[in-house]
Structures are given as C-alpha cells and as structure tokens.
Symmetry: C2
Subunit: 339 residues, 2 copies
C-alpha cells in the first residue's frame, strides 16, 4: 500500500499471500471461505484500518445504495420533516440519501435531477418545483426504469408511485368546519393551480360550499404564490371587496399567519370578525396567538413511506404503481372557533 493512500483488499491479500478474491469473499462472509481464513483476513483488515471503498463496489455492482431526494426548499418544516423521515428509513436499510433543493426553480430542478442520474442514484424521491412545467428530466427516470416516487407535489401525467395527502378532503373539511362555525362568506387563498395539491384544496372548498347550498362567489378566491407577502396582499384585496368574507381558508399556514397579522393590525378580531384556517400545521401555528386552525400533514410519515416504497421498488423491481393517499386531519384551534 502506498503511503497516504487507503489500504485495499489487495494489500490484505499480499500480507497473507492469498488472492484478493478470497479477501473480498471473506469480508462479505461468503460461505465459500473457511472460518479460519475469514478470521485471519478480518484481523489483518482491522490492523490495517481497512475500509471498503464503496465507490469501487458500487461501480462493479451497478448500484449506488443511494436515494436522491429533491425538495423545493430544505429549510421548510414540512420538507425537512419528510427528509428526516426518509433518512431514518433509508439509513436503517443501508442506504445513503443525497439531498438537493430546487428553490422552486425549474432550471435548477432539471440540473439536480440529471446530476442525480449521473450519480446513479438507485431511486428518486421528489416534490416538484412550483415553477416546473416540463418533466422530461423525470420521464428519463421512468424510461430507464429507475424507481421514482413523488410526494406531495406530483405530476399527474407521469405514471409512478405517489404519496400525497388527501388535499380535496382537507379543503372540504376546512370549509365545512367554517360553515359549522357559522361563517357565511368564506374566502380562499389558493396556490398555483398547475399544482394538483392546490387545485384539490380549492375543489374541496368548492364542493363543501355546494353541498351546503352556499352560492359560489368567484371573487372570493384569490390565486397567488402563497408567500407571506402574497398573503397580505390577497387579504387586503378580499377585505376591500364591497361584500368582504367573514372567514378565509388560506392555502397554507404562511399566508394564514400573514393574513392574521394584517387583520389584527387593521383592528379586525380573529375569530370573532373573521375566521382563519391554514394548511400544513407548521410548528408555529399552534403557538401563535390566536393559535391557527389548520390541516396536519404528516411530513415525517410521508418521508418514511416514500423511502419504504422506493426501497421496495429498488429491491424487487416491481412494475406496478400505487398512489398512497394519507388522511388529513383537521386541527381546530382558536382562529376559527366562533361558537
């Protein structure tokens, strides 16, 4: 072994005057090697401080034992929870996870995905960027038959595994809850409608109105990017209507919070004057005052499920796809309790 280069199985082999194949087999506990030899080999390996070179092994095995995860933004509670859950499962199954964030930019997402392909990830777990519009980079994975799992934000036109929450039911429940609380004019801050999750939330909202015989008023829906700023602007707009809403179903907790702050500053009381419900159950939603009613999205669990699913696909080469819909849970807090 050269100085300052790692010992390899060949160094161990030379030391014992045996072949590298034997060493390799011994270290992998291959039954073809006798126990005595194995022990000698392992002893030398230890004393040399040998560490297998995963790169070489991966190359030979055409398998990287790596799962790629792409999220819009790592630094967001829901996504970091998903990553955390997926990492947990992957680690226990002997996989490494590589992570990238698209920053919700289509171009970066394409780059990342291609780079992960070049790195020969065994599977890809992704929640697509808001801004994404073409999906050739993802179809590549399907074409090569590399397991691909969408979570939360999926692409309808790509047939593969998906893990989503029941956004429709979530939107429905939120709205029904507001109606039950006696709110009469319910506004909605909706996210980009090219993303199914936001479309479904809105549809759930509309269905609840319909079912309760409440006429649908287009002007009460404001579609935006659900940033904090958008939340303020949209709320301002809704409240300036000749006939403003007395409750707002916000597409996420970010806008729910910013709407709440805006309304409070205007002297509008929550939940007395206007009820607010968010979506996602961000950690702060339960500690702000008033606490925000919202829909819990089990991020950690989604990550676990996504990892379990993709590992199964990697190891069994199944060719059937499923869409796992996790149930939503309405968490009623102060911001929407009128009764």
């Amino acid at each position: 072994m050269n100085k300052n280069s790692e010992p390899t199985i060949h160094d161990i082999a030379r030391e014992l005057k045996i072949s590298a194949s034997t060493v390799s087999r011994a270290l992998n506990d291959n039954p073809r090697i006798s126990l005595k030899t194995k022990e000698k080999i392992k002893a030398i390996a230890d004393s040399l401080g040998y560490r297998p070179n995963t790169l070489a092994s991966n190359l030979r095995n055409k398998k990287s034992n790596t799962i790629g995860i792409v999220v819009p933004l790592i630094n967001r509670y829901f996504f970091s929870s998903v990553i955390s859950g997926a990492e947990d499962v992957a680690y226990k199954a002997g996989y490494t996870v590589v992570i990238s964030q698209s920053n919700d930019l289509a171009a970066k997402e394409i780059n990342i995905v291609q780079s992960m392909f070049s790195n020969r990830v065994d599977g890809l777990i992704i929640s697509i960027a808001m801004q994404a519009s073409t999906f050739e980079h993802l179809k590549l994975f399907r074409k090569k038959n590399i397991p691909l799992v969408f979570f939360d934000r999926a692409v309808p036109e790509i047939e593969t595994d998906k893990i989503v929450v029941d956004d429709f039911a979530g939107g429905f429940r939120v709205t029904q809850h507001l109606i039950d609380q006696g709110y009469k004019r319910i506004g909605h801050l909706a996210g980009p409608q090219n993303l199914m999750i936001y479309l479904n939330r809105k549809n759930g909202y509309m269905e609840a109105l319909r079912k309760n015989g409440i006429p649908f008023d287009e002007s009460l829906i404001n579609i935006n990017r659900l940033t904090s700023e958008d939340g303020v602007a949209a709320t301002q707009y809704l409240m300036s209507l000749p006939h403003p809403p007395d409750a707002i179903f916000c597409g996420n907790d970010t806008t729910a919070l910013s709407a709440m702050i805006y309304l409070r500053d205007k002297g509008i009381r929550i939940p007395e004057d206007v009820g607010i419900v968010g979506f996602s159950n961000e950690p702060y939603s339960k500690v702000v005052s008033p606490s925000i009613s919202t829909i819990a999205q089990p991020g950690f669990e989604m990550g676990q499920k996504a990892a379990e699913l993709i590992i199964r696909k990697i190891e069994n080469n199944e060719r059937t796809y499923q869409t796992i819909v996790l149930p939503t849970e309405l968490i009623v807090r102060e911001s929407s309790i009128r009764k």
Copy 2:
C-alpha cells in the same frame, strides 16, 4: 451497448471507430482533441443519450465530489437552515451533499461518519451529537487528512476548522439586557456542559452578572437537555425556590417557549412578573405571543461558510485551520421588555 444498460464512452467510440480515450478527452474538452472530432463525438453522445457515470469517474479520480453533512436532527429549523445554506454553495461549486442525522445518538453518529468515509466523501461538515463522548471516528478524518469542519457544536480537542457563533457574547448580551430591563434575579436553563456552546452561554451569563456586581447564585442555574419537557420541569423547579427568579435566560427557544407556556398557565405574567429570553431565533419566536426575545444564529450563513471553507480545503489542501466566530445578534421582543 447492451439493451437496458447505459451507453458508455466505449459505445460512442465504437460508433465512430475511434478510441475511448479520445471520447473521454473530447467530452472533457481536452485541447488535445480537434474541434471537429469533439463535435462529432458530442453529437453522437447526445443522440445516444449518453450520461457520464460519475461513479466510474470518481473511482478513477479518487474524488467523489461529495460533501457529507451530519446534523443531530434534520428536522430542526437551525439545522435545516445550515444544510440549506451549505447545499446552495456546494451545488454551485459542483458538489453533491449527502446528509444524515445522528438523532443526537453517539452510536448512530459513529456509524454515519464511518459510512461517509467509506463513501469517500471529500469533506465532512458536522455538528456533533449531544450524547457523543468519544471522537475517534472524527479523528479518523483528521488522520487521513480529509477536510473536516465543525459548526455550532465543535470538539475542542480536535484541531480543525470550526464555525461557531459567539455564544459567550450571546449569553453576556442576553443577561446584560435583562439587567438593563431591571430584572434582579436572573435564572438560567443551561444545556449539557460537555458542549462548548452551552458552556460558553453560561459563562457569558456569569460574566455579565459579575460585571454588574450581581452575586452569583448556583441554585438559579438548571442544567438539562433543553427539550420542551425539560423546560417545563426546570421552570417549575426554579419557580418553586424560596427566592425564585424574576427572569430566565433559556438555553434555547424550545425551552423559552415551554417555560412561557408553563408560566402563563400558572397565571404569571410575561414580561411583567418574569422576563424570558431564548436562544436561536426559531421562526416561531417572533410570532408567538408574547414574542420571545432571543439571539439570532445565522444558520443559513453558517452553512454557506462551512461549505465555502471545506471546498477551499478540498481544492487547495491547505493545512492551516481557522475558527470562524460569527457575531450574535440580540433580538429584543416582548418577552423581556419591562420598561
């Protein structure tokens, strides 16, 4: 090229009846290859849908272009911010980041770090587990001269690059601020003292007391693991003292919040009866009510700096180490304003 296996440079070479070396050089824009040949090669590469196999390249180059990041818990705002910042910088420099969480367990940390070594990461960025006590796994990196950067939670006995915030100054400032606000008996919830960050915060606290001529009272310091539950228990304990504190400097925002909730439930007013200051500036600290005074820790920036530093080390093989101390910023909010 075999069916269902990726095209390689050899396939391109065969197609054009040239050698693989030429293809490799052409694709890497080596000046030794003529422009005409390069163009032909790139055209074929495109039409074949060729993607370089990074594994093979990495093996040959003894470089993985990968940076490992180990944090206690991915799913924590500060850490996910660091990861986010590091990923940003790494991505732009052409590196992939692999991420693992130790769950604050020593055993898992050791495992992860060794696995990252086997994966031949080019460098390792880590914030050590609370529970960690031996550091052989990290010394391995130093011994092999693989760049190692600690952030936030560093190991004093290992000489390497470190990126920390000025916890001492942070603790000092918090305490001085409470004193300035007229609080007389200031308690402190401290984290495990084997971690420098918590030790430094406590030392800053003590120094501020000393400088203001306030006698130090051992019983006002409670050392715990700074979980939400610990925060409640510690606060309960402090308030049950014969001479309870009128302000508490909490080692992190988690405990600050749980302390606040506990006190509120007991009918104790904040900041009138008891002042509270946290540490870390978790996102919720500014939106809860009362909002929590705290120390801002620039997580995203720390991640960026850590990545920049480690990439420089990787690419230049420098052998000098630095400790970058990022300034802390006291954010004064409602929970500690008495005047």
